[in-house]
């Protein structure tokens, strides 16, 4: 997968450019603490306002297809087996067997040790970072808690990359972040980004999960978003899906605003991935509206926008079937996953 900008920036380069050559913890802290506070009431009102748009007919059809094309079809269960991963991949390749026009999803998202099975099942459809096909994303760094030593997190990441993962979804150390040790979190992201380097010198895409449900305040979400971007994140992602609340519209809006600010500042486009808790097409369409209104429609590509979801896809397929056939469909007409 290629971004519009060259991915030439080595880890932490962004921070060096923004904060100056002597990248110290103090400089980082001054920057993050110096961010303006978030108007929580205004943010939630704006998100609620964006939820009221009515998206119908051809716009709806486009939105549904966009949701599928930008979906990271996810299975992160302790009970995952090679067989369930193969059926996940089959669903990613052919979401709806009754309609060959259905687009494919952007990626499958699995645990690191399941990457080989996903790669094998995809075969020639494995995008491997290219423009067409399906990417393999792996969660790493002691997902979902992130409670492990740095060495283990890095080994976790390297193994997934070596097994063929094109994208790494890492979790930040929320404990360190909440304790105020921004530098620890920063250094870990930089180190994980470095661990994403393949033998040929290219990097696996890095998505940084903030786990906003554990960050307590919008101000923290804003700081963590800046921190992740400065440390070299290609994507920032709301949640693991294992903590409630997971992705919410206000949090996604706030993170998109940080992405917009970063784009205005540097011209660089950072991706966004809300994950967890988005189950209905109606909700997903609201996210699309929010993206279009905050950072612009050019973000609505798999390169810059993803939904992390497992059950959302089936609901979207039911809606597509309704649009196509004119009558309501039911769960008997989509595959289980």
């Amino acid at each position: 997968m290629t971004l519009d900008h060259p991915v030439a920036l080595a880890p932490a380069d962004r921070a060096v450019q923004l904060l100056g050559g002597d990248l110290t913890e103090k400089a980082l802290r001054l920057h993050l603490d110096g961010l303006s506070g978030v108007d929580a009431v205004g943010l939630e009102q704006r998100a609620a306002g964006l939820s009221t748009r009515s998206i119908k007919t051809s716009s709806k059809a486009w939105a549904l297809d966009t949701i599928i094309r930008t979906c990271d079809l996810t299975s992160l269960e302790g009970a995952d087996t090679p067989g369930t991963i193969r059926s996940l991949v089959a669903k990613a390749v052919t979401p709806d067997a009754t309609d060959p026009e259905t687009p494919r999803v952007a990626a499958v998202c699995v645990y690191g040790d399941m990457v080989p099975y996903a790669v094998e099942a995809l075969g020639s459809l494995h995008a491997a970072g290219g423009e067409s096909g399906i990417q393999v994303a792996a969660v790493a760094t002691a997902f979902p808690s992130g409670r492990a030593s740095l060495a283990i997190k890095l080994a976790d990441t390297r193994e997934a990359v070596a097994a063929g993962a094109d994208e790494i979804d890492m979790v930040i150390d929320r404990g360190a972040f909440l304790a105020g040790s921004f530098a620890v979190v920063f250094d870990q992201i930089v180190a994980v980004k470095e661990a994403c380097r393949r033998t040929d010198g290219t990097y696996a895409h890095l998505k940084v999960i903030l786990e906003t449900g554990e960050l307590q305040t919008y101000d923290n979400v804003k700081r963590a978003s800046w921190l992740a971007i400065l440390a070299g994140a290609d994507f920032i992602k709301t949640s693991t899906g294992k903590v409630s609340p997971a992705a919410t519209l206000p949090v996604t809006l706030l993170m998109l605003e940080v992405i917009r600010d970063w784009h205005r500042l540097t011209g660089e486009k950072i991706g966004m991935k809300p994950a967890g808790g988005i189950r209905a097409s109606k909700d997903a369409v609201r996210y699309l509206v929010t993206v279009a209104e905050t950072v612009g429609e050019e973000w609505l590509t798999p390169q810059l926008w993803r939904f992390g979801a497992s059950s959302l896809l089936n609901d979207v397929l039911l809606q597509r079937q309704k649009l196509r056939t004119g009558h309501y469909s039911g769960p008997d007409y989509v595959t289980v996953n």
């Binding site: 079937q321 004119g326 009558h327 309501y328 469909s329 039911g330 769960p331 008997d332 007409y333």
Partner: protein
């Protein structure tokens, strides 16, 4: 000092809750002579869709309950109806324009229908099921199983149907473990929603019975064509283009029970209309 009356808002009954119509529409319910009675929610196709989702999610629990348990719940509905007899008589007198005696007779008949079907809940499998004779060392057993989600157009006769008609079509469908989405009597929907209040307080799990008020002509085509509806009871659809409904239902292999004149009387045939017979074999012994 005089006081203002506080009229009741009649809403839908979907998934154990009483939502307004998603569309925000209401329609006026009037007496046969044209006097205003109440505003009732006018359900849209999306309310029907939501009701089917609620009904589908309730199938597992309700079909999984024992027949004995379902019988107890149905009997409990009859008990609660008896306790609110005066309210139902009042509503029927107003909305159908009949005498209090006739209304009382209808409520009694409705209660008796619930009791009659309640008794069958733990006995029906014995009648419809069978241990089939086979020439081999195994059992071959047929058992009735619920069809799933049943969409019903309740009887629409001018008199005698607003409560009894609903009971006569809902009770036989749910007693075997089906869940229902029923479109109530269009002109006299008040006792249907009051029945919803009875169901909500009588151990019937939310979603097992979902009651929509509004135009059957508007809602029925969506229910008939809905792929997640397993059976369609057209009891009160005699005045609609019901052949078209049957054709739409056939697209997704939905079972259809055709309209019938009058209010269906309690019968085993109605129970049998919404079951599937599952036949299994099992070895007689392990050696």
């Amino acid at each position: 000092m005089s006081r203002l009356t506080v009229p009741k808002t009649y809403k839908l009954y979907v998934g154990g809750k009483f939502p307004r119509s998603e569309s925000g529409r209401t329609y006026e319910v009037a007496t046969p002579k044209g006097a205003f009675l109440a505003n009732a929610a006018q359900a849209s196709r999306k309310d029907a869709r939501d009701a089917v989702v609620a009904a589908r999610s309730a199938v597992g629990g309700w079909a999984g309950a024992t027949g004995y348990n379902r019988g107890q719940v149905l009997y409990r509905i009859a008990e609660l109806l008896e306790g609110r007899r005066a309210q139902f008589v009042d509503e029927i007198v107003q909305s159908e324009g009949v005498s209090a005696t006739a209304a009382g007779a209808q409520v009694d008949a409705a209660i008796d229908v619930w009791v009659w079907y309640a008794g069958w809940a733990d006995k029906y499998a014995q009648v419809a099921g069978n241990a089939n004779p086979v020439a081999g060392p195994y059992f071959n057993i047929s058992v009735p199983e619920p069809t799933g989600v049943v969409a019903i157009i309740a009887p629409q006769q001018a008199t005698g149907a607003s409560l009894l008609g609903l009971a006569a079509v809902v009770a036989p469908a749910i007693l075997t473990g089906n869940t229902v989405v029923v479109v109530a009597h269009e002109r006299a929907p008040l006792s249907a929603i009051s029945l919803g209040e009875v169901l909500a307080t009588s151990d019937v799990p939310g979603g097992v019975v979902n009651i929509l008020t509004g135009s059957p002509a508007e809602i029925a085509p969506w229910l008939a064509a809905h792929a997640d509806v397993n059976a369609l009871d057209l009891a009160g659809a005699g005045d609609l283009e019901w052949v078209d409904l049957q054709i739409a239902a056939a697209e997704t292999l939905t079972r259809v029970l055709q309209p019938e004149p009058g209010i269906p009387s309690p019968s085993l045939d109605r129970i049998g209309a919404f079951i599937e017979i599952k036949t299994v074999w099992h070895t007689k012994a392990m050696r």
